[in-house]
Amino acid sequence: MTEFFASSRGFVVLLLLFAIGAAGSLLFNKNDRQANYWSNLFACAGSLWGMFVAIGALVAPEPVAFTLGFSPFSLLRFSFLLDRLAAFFLFVISLIAFFCSIYAIDYVKHYYGKYGIGTLGFFYNIFIAGMLLVASAANGLFFLVAWEIMSVASFFLVIHDRDEQENIRAGLLYLIMTHLGTAFIIAAFLLLYRSTGSFDFSAIQSGGAAISPVVKNAVFVLSLIGFGTKAGIIPLHVWLPAAHPAAPSHISGLMSGVMIKTGIYMMIRVFLDLLAPFPLWWGVVLLIAGAVSALLGVLYALAEHDIKKLLAYHSIENIGIILLGLGSALTFLSLQLPTLALLGLVASLFHTLNHATFKSLLFLGAGAVINQTHTRNMEELGGLIRLMPQTALLFLTGSMAISALPPFNGFFSEWLTFQSLFQGIAATDSRTIWVFVIAAGSLAFTGGLALACFVKAFGAVFLARPRSNEAQHAREPSFFMLAGMWPLAALSLLFGIVSGYVANILQDVAGTLSVFQGFPSPFLLAETGRISAGGFSFVSPPVVFLLLLIALFAVFTAFNFLFFKKQKTTFGPTWDCGADLTPRMEITSTGFARSIILIFKGIMKPTMLKSVECRDGETRYLPKSREIRLGISNIYDTCLYKPAQDLALRFSLYARKMQSGLINMYILYILAALLGALYFSL
């Protein structure tokens, strides 16, 4: 049975499901209800099928490779390769897409009659199919096609809410950045083509030895920038916090949960699979990029009061953590330490899976909140735990998982990452040790700050009192939205408890890469549900889970039966000194984060905008309202993107002077071109 799924026919069925979903949803454009059910049900079916395909490819003894169709372009071959790495990413994409599609059935209902559901469903199906193609393509040109389809489809999804000018700007920024990234990728593939004479991954891999070191390094830099743009490495991340809030929430969940991971996938594919062996500095660069992204990402998240932007910055942080694992893998490989490299790679793959589950859960939860309250500003939310208890619980689960609290899955992948970094400190010499020290330090820092950030996020959104009228009238989301979120929360817990088994599978996935082939069989990363890091340290997730349960129970009983035995507890309203409690008395999320931001003000450059409106314009004695806005100045815009844009604009204005409007000038150009061409060519 599994052979059928992981074959060309199974894959064609997969693509057909999405194609039918897309086409049908476009046909039903006139009827929102039909379009919604059609597109999302087919997306569900397709994702489910995708999971089967992925599992089929995971259990297949040999990588599944096949070619579909033909094209008029000799270099473009629609060839697929489903090795274990691709299968793993296919699985992650399908898994998240499945739950997002379930969620979407109810979520998109609030767009009825406002924007076309047909086009949304069309691009949604195309988008998922594009991601699946990206993960399975085995030809550079075909990969680029899939990559661009994925990017363009997601662009249209980002601007779906098109009446907001801000969303259009976000979409514009997103497509510009992603296209710039694609330009770098194209350059990288063209360089690979120049050296190996083919766009096929297999040919590039086998011809890898012929690539000169200079070209190899150039390809590394180009593809790091190209794929890093998609993954959201700082400072290429600018599109991410803009695009995620603009998109509908199930799209944000998919984009943040899995789309940015395609960048990671391609980095693994290109660096580890196609270009190995490689020099030491590649891994060091990845480690530094990871450390910077992780630390700065979480700092920016702290300063954010838009809940979806906050989550978007956390994606940057988590991409940084994944890169730490990947970077240590690359470093160990070039130091000839394959066992440790495997550990690093498993850590990054595991975190990829985990981040996909809890980040999509968080985005879906945020979507449920926004759907009810119509605001993304956390300062206007609050008190939702009473109105939306299930959502609050789900969001809390996600928050705990992303803050790396045991027994949720985030803890175990970060633990693995830590282990690989510690091994780096222990096993490498003085030349590289400082990188690992910095990376481990920044990861530790990141973990603490992430916890603070989610205390803030959860507290501001769900605790205290509603701070706006809309937040007072929120209700629990409807069935399908909850049905999409509950399994994700369950998976976050499950992947934590059974993380030993998951790590075992991931070790198989990573171990099949060609770079690990020449070495004697690596150590067992996990046995009987226990993760160990090369025999140096280990952790047993089920035991952790049990201990936690016991500890919780013990604390609860101790307090109830020992300390509070004689006392009677009554519940009453909070003492408010006779005045009414208002949301203005609560601590704001900005205020909560302010002390931490001030510690890092050297990096973050916080800005404060005070404005006082007075009743009496001239004397200004009686203020009517005061407003203080705290923000973070966008140093990437001011120091990197704005100057580049200004430069382009200045060149453009120079070039426009050429079109002076005077015909004499134009004929002079012809004369000059003629004389110049004659002079230089003869």
Binding site: Q659, G661, L662, I663, N664, Y679
Partner: protein, 214 residues
């Protein structure tokens, strides 16, 4: 080398320079007529040499279009739009002459040497033809008036014809007639356009027409 030939070629070349020097449009029109007449005479020579009737037809057509029709159109033009017709240039006269000299030198330089070598006995005349082309282009660059631009194009065409004649590259009569037909239509269109431009802009200067600047 035939003295007549040299004289005609020099006439054509000198009229090209003359376009740059004179500041009155009526003279420019007449100078073009003189230039075209020289071309006609050259063509007539080649008719005498070959004796083909179709060549004669070409000669007559050229005479009719380039000399009579053009003269007629241009003098009408000058009369009608006197206040609007400009003959001013961007470069002053000495500077213009220096550039003309430089272009002539370039036409005689080693860059164009292979062209002059097509018919070695006519090398000087061929170089003159090339110089005429470049100087005609310069006329269109330098002059502000629309009439000068029209004459620049026509003078460029004359220079090419002269070059073709001296290089032994004249085409068969049917092609010549086709080209003449093109020039006829071109002349008519430009004169229609001139009146339209005058109606819309109130002047016949290129500097007036600079609103398309992107």
């Amino acid at each position: 080398m035939n003295m007549n030939l040299q004289f005609l070629a020099m006439t054509i070349f000198l009229t090209t320079i003359f376009f740059h020097i004179i500041r009155r449009n009526s003279y420019t029109a007449s100078a073009y007529a003189v230039q075209s007449l020289a071309v006609v005479l050259l063509l007539f020579r080649s008719f005498l040499a070959t004796g083909s009737l179709s060549m004669l037809l070409t000669v007559i057509l050229v005479l009719a279009i380039k000399v009579f029709l053009a003269l007629h159109l241009f003098s009408n033009f000058v009369k009608k739009y006197k206040p609007g017709v400009s003959a001013t240039a961007y470069l002053n006269l000495p500077l213009t002459l220096i550039v003309v000299a430089a272009l002539s030198a370039f036409a005689h330089s080693r860059v164009f040497a292979p062209l002059a070598a097509i018919v070695p006995e006519n090398a000087a005349l061929l170089s003159l033809g090339i110089a005429g082309m470049l100087i005609s282009l310069l006329l269109m660059v330098n002059r502000k008036g629309i009439l000068s631009q029209i004459i620049g194009v026509l003078s460029l065409e004359n220079s090419i014809v002269v070059f073709g004649l001296f290089a032994g590259l004249e085409q068969s009569a049917i092609l010549q007639i086709g080209i003449m037909f093109n020039i006829l239509v071109w002349l008519i269109i430009t004169s229609i356009f001139s009146s339209m431009i005058y109606r819309h802009f109130g002047a016949l200067e290129t500097a007036e027409m600079t609103s398309l600047k992107e």
